[in-house]
Each structure stands twice: as structure tokens, then as C-alpha cells.
Amino acid sequence: MQLHYQSQAVAKPYFIAAIALFVGQILFGLILGLQYVIGDFLFPAIPFNVARMVHTNLLIVWLLFGFMGAAYYLVPEETETELHSPLLAHVLFWIFLIAGALTVVGYLAVPYATLAEMTGNDILQTMGREFLEQPLPTKLGIVVVALAFLYNIGMTILKGRKTAISMILLMGLVGLAVLFLFAFYNPSNLVKDKYFWWWVVHLWVEGVWELILGAILGFVLLKITGVDREVIEKWLYVIITLTLVSGIIGTGHHYYWIGTPGYWQWWGSIFSALEPIPFFAMTVFCFNMVNRRRRQHPNKAATLWALGTGVMAFLGAGVWGFLHTLAPINYYTHGSQITAAHGHMAFYGAYAMVVMTIISYAMPILRGREANPERAQVLEMWSFWLMTVSMVFITLFLTAAGILQVWLQRVIPNPQAFMQVQDQLALFYWMRWLSGIVFFIGLVVYIYSFFTKDKLQTVEVGTVQPAAT
């Protein structure tokens, strides 16, 4: 099978880099998980905070690689024109990869304070805030790469067909870049610092990233189900309307206890309680489109990833988000293992999975076939279940730990100290770590599936088979 547009090929290195960085993320997750129970593990070589920065920053960077790869793949096909500049896409790839690698090396090789000094943090103090730990040059690098990337994608869309899918993707990507600019605003007033920090973090994952999520899912569903574009794009508009109408004011669920006025307990609770609705709509959307499919696409693994994203995003973001989003509940759960449980399932279920969905769909085509050989697909589906089920267990164990933590430390009449409580949760942390090992095995199987050759049967290339109805 040929690519429709040659320039789509630039997506390939982006997807490969995404998977490689994903492996790094999980290895550091396993280090963190062990440090939770063996407190001095790897200390002082890799203190917990350093491993955590690597874990979360690699997560964000591999997802960004995935989003960019997705854009390079789907925009030419949607706009029916070659990418404005494949060369620029290649150059940006290396800039982003090298900047990311240098940043991680910096975290690991020198004390953070020294890194801050070396990289000019005193010129503009932006470092040392969760998820935004990157040195100033890295942050500037991200802005430059994002601008050049948007220029490339924007020019392509400008000269081509403007579909709702590509416009929604573009809006999401522009929003991502614009909101990142708040990473440069760090007043010495902690309350204002926190207020606008959430404009990056919350308005990303519960705002503009959901547009990207919807667009990628919509594209893959369009391709594998053959359902009418009008139907898919109408669904998409409804989903992203619900997203932004609930999610923008929903930012208020982070403004309950950080020094902002008490009225946010109302605004935040009411609007964020609506946030599960778009996620639920996404689940229904995925199943609906697959049920109404007009063709039987040979890539079963991609279909599984798409449906899985629909379900797991709703569970992680919708259900686990709702669990602690109402102010009277959040008063007790704020900043506990409940938060960590939700953070994991939401990031995995929505964003990690949608990137694996587009990789699953596009990578075979980028490698010259419509779908992978049967054996490779079976392995890929095994990896889907291993990773997804172990993530469910990670979430359940952290939730159990969180409930106990909140009870012992915050609810009972004679509350216990933080560290004393942590000691009593060790069993759950061990179980989380074991689930993490299974997750890692799933990831290894996932990578292995890319190298699995067919035994004998080959998949008919480029043919459309009728749906089995």
C-alpha cells in the first residue's frame, strides 16, 4: 500500500521517538514506585524528585512527539495536499529530540540548583514548578519548535481542503502552544503563580488537548469504519463544545484551597462536574461509529486501541475525575494518592492511548502495508490488554491507598502524621509496583510486535472488504 502523500512519511521518526521516550518514562516510573517502598533506593544518585521530573517530562515530550507525528500524518491526507515543508519537519524533529535528551541529561547529571544557574534561570525564573521544570533554553526551544511546527501545518491547511478534523486539530495545537506561554509567567506571589500555572496544566489536559484527542480519534474512526464524514464531524463539534464549555470554567476545581476566593468552590464544582459528559460522548461516539461501520478494516488492533481510548479516557478522566472534583470531597482528597490514581489513568487512558491509536493505524501504512500481519496484530492486542489492565490495577491500588491515607491523616479525630500513614500503605505501594512491572512487560510486547513477521498469510493490500452484517 502506498502513502497517499509522500510527505506523510515524516511522521514515522516522530512515532518511533515517542515510543522510545515512553520506555524511558516507564523505567523511571518503576524507580519512583520502588522509592515509595524502599525509601533510600538509588539515593543520593537519583533522588525521588529527579526521577519524578524525568518520568513526567518524558511523558509530556513523548505525547507531544505523538501529537506532532499525528498531525504530519493526517493533515496532508485531510487537506489533500503535500506538507508545506517536509524538510522543516525533519529539522524540527532533531531539534526537539536533542533538546529533550539534553534536558533529561541535565536533570540526571547535575544538581537542579546548578542546572538552574547554568541555564540562566536568574534571567527569567521559570523553573521548579511541577511539570514546568525545564530550564529556560528548553522552554524557549519548545516555543520555537511549536511555532515552526504550527507554521508548517498551518501553511499546509491553508493551501488545501479545510476539513473539520484538520481545523479542530489545528485549534487544539494552537491552543497548546499559546497556553504554554503561561509557563513563562512566574510571579513571586505564590497564589498568582498557582492560578496561572493551571492555565498550562488544566487548560491543556481538560481543554485544548481534548480537541487534539477528538481530531485524532475522529480521523482514525473515519478511516477504519468508512462512516460518513458529515456524521463524524458533527459528533466532533458536539464533543468539543461540551469539552470547552465545561472545562474552561471547570479550571475552578483547582482554585478551592490555594488562596483564591471561596466562590470557586461553586464555579469549580458545578462546571467540572459536567466535564465527564464530553468524555462519555467520546465513548459513545467510538462505539457508535464502529457499530455503524461500512467496511471491515484489516487493522483490528487499531480498532481496539480506538475503542479502548474511548473507554479508558472516560474511566480515568470522567469517572476518576468526578470522584474527587466536588469541593466538599476535594477538601479531603486534595493532593493525596487519589490525585495520583486519577492522574495515571487519565493520562494513560486519554493521551497515551490516543497516540498509540494513531501509531497503530498509521505505522503499518508508513511501512508499506494496510495492516500488520495477523501475528503482529495479536501480539499488539496482547500488549493492549497487558498495559490497560495493569493500569487499571495501578489505579485501583493507588485509590485504595488514597482512601486509607485520607482517612488516617485527615478524617479521624486524632489524625496521624504523613510519614506514619505512608508506612501503613506499603502493601498497596508494593502491589502498584508489581502492576507496574506487568505494564512494562506489556510495553515490551508492544515494541516486539513491530518486529514480528508474518508466518505465511498476507493481508490483501488496498482492498475494501464488506462489513459482516
Partner: protein
């Protein structure tokens, strides 16, 4: 979705709904930022507090601790540590790290000067006096 709800209607609802939400959020943001000054101990943080916050950031304390419930969940909440432990304890604690108790979670040694310790404590004191709507539920954070 039925036939009289078309794609272009859906798109218009999207633009309208988003615009409305953004404007409402901006209005609330404007009002909140007027109010914050009444809810913090000093209108503008003193130079000590600002330096303390800078130390907090450049040592990546938030990579292990929470502050007002945000950060990592590996080590205790520090938004109210000033009230829980007091200034003298905080300084002695920081200087005594790491505990090197086998198997126990470890905090690095940061080699702070006396001046830096004072700045950090000033920042933590300032933070502990923010009106947080009575969060955390109790002194254990």
C-alpha cells in the same frame, strides 16, 4: 442526532459556547486577581519571601512535597509546616538531612547558608498565612 441538527449548526454552537466560556472565565479571573491581595498576608511578598520562593523552586522541593496540596505526594505537605513545626525546627530539619535511616525515604542535603534558611522560612511562613478556606482539614496537612 437528527437531520435538522446539521454540522454547521454544531460548529456555530461550538464557537458561541467557547467564546462565552472564555469571556466568563476572563471576567472571573479579573475579579479573582483583584481579590487575592486581601487573602494573602502582605500585599506584595517581601524580598525575603521572594528569595525563599526562588530557593523553593531551584531546589525542586515540589518534586517530593506538596504545597497547598499541589506537587508530589512522596513527602509531607509544607503549606502549613510553619504552623505545624515552627521556624527553629524547620531549619534544624533541613540542616540534618539526609537522615540516612536505612529504607526510609531520604531528603537531600542542600548546603543552605543561614541567610538562605531564613529566606525559606520567611516564604513558608508567608505561605502558611494565606487564606485557604481552612484547608488542610487538620495540622497534619
Amino acid at each position: 442526532m437528527s437531520a435538522f441538527f446539521t454540522k454547521s449548526m454544531a460548529r456555530n454552537v461550538f464557537y458561541g459556547g467557547t467564546l462565552f466560556s472564555v469571556l466568563l472565565f476572563l471576567a472571573l479571573t479579573f475579579h479573582t486577581n483583584q481579590r487575592i491581595s486581601r487573602r494573602i498576608p502582605t500585599e506584595t511578598p517581601s524580598p525575603e519571601v521572594a528569595r525563599g520562593k526562588h530557593l523553593w523552586e531551584t531546589r525542586n522541593c515540589v518534586g517530593c512535597h506538596t504545597i497547598l496540596g499541589e506537587g508530589a505526594y512522596f513527602a509531607p505537605e509544607l503549606g502549613n509546616v510553619y504552623k505545624r513545626r515552627g521556624p527553629a525546627f524547620i531549619k534544624v530539619w533541613i540542616q540534618a538531612q539526609p537522615t540516612k535511616v536505612p529504607g526510609r525515604r531520604q531528603m537531600p542535603q542542600f548546603h543552605f547558608t543561614d541567610q538562605q534558611l531564613d529566606d525559606l522560612v520567611a516564604f513558608l511562613k508567608w505561605t502558611s498565612e494565606i487564606d485557604t478556606e481552612n484547608w488542610p482539614p487538620n495540622i497534619e496537612g
